[in-house]
Symmetry: C2
Subunit: 505 residues, 2 copies
């Protein structure tokens, strides 16, 4: 969009109309456009948002590679017969699959699913590649897009029919190794949110009835949005042996006995961008932590005709120093725009730090710095500008994180009966923590009237609760977070676990 | 695949059965597997090949970003009605399109094409984003996969129904700007081949009748494969105004007059990996230039029981020094394999440089280095190992490039009549350079009996020949490479151009 047409500033209220406010930020900050006619649910990811995604990829991919993961690429289509080989997968995804049925002028003999997730095509290859215990662990990951044809309303990055993500797939000799893998990836996802996106998360597992299709246990990082809803930030699944059995991943162990492998899968999607935009942004527009911002610092020279040369030369020197220090800096020396317009525009676009340079700064060998999240203004010496800017960028990150942490801390409440849960959710939103028997039936009396559900069950001592049916040796009999002797808030039976109820995206 | 099952070494002959030899290298070096049953034409890209693709992406993407390109992501589907809006695109790609017709349990109202290329969905958005001449040039690029349902035999990386690529799309105020863009990208593609993949290329344009659908002119880099066939290494298209008109990209110029933009598109696919594998590899397996090799150096310690500790400690020190210097090094200290097996395995997998360390090397404070392409062995001092290794890696690159350049130089021949062209192609393969009138009809007498075609028309003085119908102001009347006064080798008419005939992939 041309500058001329760009309306700066957001008209919707973040606190009152969060959904409309979010859509307006996404559009005005040039993050995404809606798909073409006939393709509702699809979005176009514009360069500003894609650049953030690339930085996130770089951060996470480096962690993956440091911990034994290798990237690969598998076909985007899955033959229907492959999808059907793991029954939970087909039941879980069939209603959402986009099907290729024709190619060129011919009808295909077998329908091909556009991948909704790739277990069903990756696992058979892992099965070919694994022969001996020496081939394990085997880890592959791919960065790609997947398609899930959901009928709900489009919300860029949160709900789209096609989305970008990474999906990792691993095979291991033992269930314990697979558990360790599952938790390694979950910890890396936590780090993406906390160390890179400035968003604190809650770590735990999904209730068994809400696990990934075919998984023993699904672990999750949950982030709280400003409207009191929870976002599933990324998930890491211990798949047990269901896929290994369906696709026959066996290996000979050190004693030459044939055994079946244990697998995991784990994924983080561009929903992380949605959480990022929604958590930090405000009514001036996009707010980005310096870690992910394509432009970290904008230098805005402020001149009159008689001071122009001096101010510009000084501003260029500052920008050059910052660039040489590896800081992502932009010098906004456009003639046709006044400083006020530039301030608003860079605020809309989420530049974390602004440096204003006018004749007074030049005269005093100083800089005026302005923090994006709160407008705090500070005057600093010109000397050592790179180090000064780094400190301010760190401060900006810390402010964003602290604000999000404050919100989260205030939004975890307790309740111990149905009325209390419903009342607390209805009045405040956020999370309501309650003792729970572990039965899906006890989620219904909350889910039905309130559209809230159990989004997370915390780990106890970092140990996930083990799913039904397998790996009982790993279930150490702990009570999964609920205090001993407590009773389920709904049915009054013994409370095995602690449940976090919330509305969710 | 487990080491136990890995057959080392290639059984097919590169010179006699190039196709089979290539397929064997791809399989045994763990580069790609074929797609599942029911999905012939698809491949699985395994980590060793994908790591090379990632390095190539990094090299090219940095060049793009340095020259004003921003990455984005557009939907993978294109509504049929959009595909139909540019008539050449729909004619060119319709026979190869995979169609999504059902989603979930419903039939779609309009068929969606899985993108064969994205002009038809990107151009309408560019049209929305461009309002004023100040919005130009506008450049976006995406790294993604596309699908073209070709019926020909699968050849991993050369011919696959789905392939990975990048596609750049730009809009400009003038035809000249669009030309400059077209040539900037072509030069960057040339650099990928020559400076990164160690493959010399010929730069030129496709005959007009073989241009990209809807393009004014398609420019190309062509690489010669060892079996004498040419590979189209990447293409950069001056699209003229056909897409801008079909999708209405207009802008107001400095005088506030409305004008139509000029667009380009340009793409490089994983075919570059195919060319890389085929050009350098040999009958020991994969050969990779150090620029792209996931592992640049392997250190193989050679010990007896009594020397093991000393040799291993020394080898670890060498590997540590190399790693600290940023060299991608692997220490192969596996107990269960002997050095001979390790040598063969790393040769198969394309590690450019091997360092052997035994008791003699330890005693003399030396290293024995072995170059992958030709087995040249050199003894060097332990001191300054990082610099020494860098020099050797440069030498290895230079050897690979020189060998490929020698081949190319010997494979460009001239002929000035039909019998000469056919005879030369039949006897030698390679390129046959001949005067040509510019008429498609004069390609037929070669194409029909020989399956060879005009793969390239060289530029004269770096100026492309301009397509018919538009931009005649840019056509400077040069004769496009053919000597003045020459006659077409086929029809005897005036020769406007020089044609390079070749068989091609």
């Amino acid at each position: 969009m041309s500058d001329d047409d760009q309306e700066l500033g957001i008209t919707e209220s973040k606190s009152h109309n969060t959904g409309e406010w979010y859509a307006e930020v996404v559009r005005k900050a040039g993050l995404a456009d809606y798909g073409p006619e006939g393709m509702s649910g699809f979005i176009v990811t514009r360069p500003r948002a894609y650049a953030v995604w690339e930085r996130l990829q770089g951060f996470l991919d480096a962690k993956f590679k440091d911990t034994g993961v290798r990237n690969a690429y598998f076909p985007m289509f899955i033959p229907e017969s492959y999808l059907e080989r793991e029954k939970d997968i087909v039941e879980g995804f069939d209603p959402e699959v986009a099907w290729v049925t024709e190619a060129g002028t011919k009808e295909l003999e077998e329908r091909l699913a556009v991948r909704p997730t790739s277990e069903s095509i990756i696992t058979p290859y892992i099965s070919q590649w694994v022969r001996s215990h020496r081939d394990l662990p085997l880890r592959v990951n791919q960065w790609c897009s997947v398609v899930r044809w959901e009928a709900t309303e489009t919300k860029p990055f949160f709900r789209t029919k096609e989305f970008l993500w990474q999906e990792g797939h691993t095979a291991h000799a033992t269930s314990e190794d697979a558990w360790n893998e599952t938790m390694t990836r979950l910890d890396q996802y936590e780090s993406v949110y906390e160390d890179f996106l400035a968003i604190p998360v809650l770590k735990g597992q999904k209730p068994d009835h809400d696990a990934f299709p075919g998984a023993d246990t699904t672990t999750t990082v949950e982030a709280l949005m400003p409207d009191g809803k929870s976002v599933q930030g990324a998930t890491s699944h211990h798949l047990g042996q269901s896929f290994a059995e369906a696709f026959d991943i066996t290996f000979s162990d050190a004693e030459e006995d044939e055994r079946t492998a244990h697998t995991t899968s784990w994924g983080l999607s561009w929903r992380a961008l949605g959480a990022l935009i929604m958590t930090h942004s405000d009514e001036q527009g996009l707010v980005l932590p310096p870690t992910v911002a394509p432009t970290q610092v904008v230098v805005v020279p402020i001149w009159q005709e008689d001071t122009k040369d001096d101010v510009l030369a000084y501003a260029e020197g500052v920008a050059d120093d910052l660039e040489a220090a590896g800081i992502r800096v932009e010098l906004d020396d456009r003639d046709e725009r006044n400083p006020g317009f530039k301030f608003n525009e860079h605020e809309l676009n989420g530049v974390p730090l602004r440096i204003e340079i006018g004749p007074y700064e030049v005269e005093d060998d100083e800089l005026t710095l302005n923090h994006r999240p709160d407008g705090e203004e500070r005057v600093e010496d010109r000397e050592g500008v790179a180090e000064t800017v780094r400190d301010h960028l760190d401060t900006v990150y810390a402010k964003l994180y602290a604000a999000a942490e404050d919100t989260l801390d205030g939004e975890v409440r307790e309740a111990d009966d149905r009325a209390g849960i419903l009342g607390t959710l209805g009045q405040h939103g956020g999370y309501v923590k309650t003792p729970w028997c572990g039965d899906e039936a006890c989620e219904e009396p909350i889910k039905e009237p309130m559209a809230a559900e159990i989004v997370m069950v915390p780990f106890e001592n970092d140990d996930p609760l083990v799913g039904d049916g397998v790996d009982d040796d790993l279930d150490d009999g702990s009570d999964g977070g609920a205090g001993h002797g407590e009773t389920c808030a709904i049915c009054g039976g013994p409370a095995e676990r602690t449940a976090y109820f919330a509305k969710s995206y």
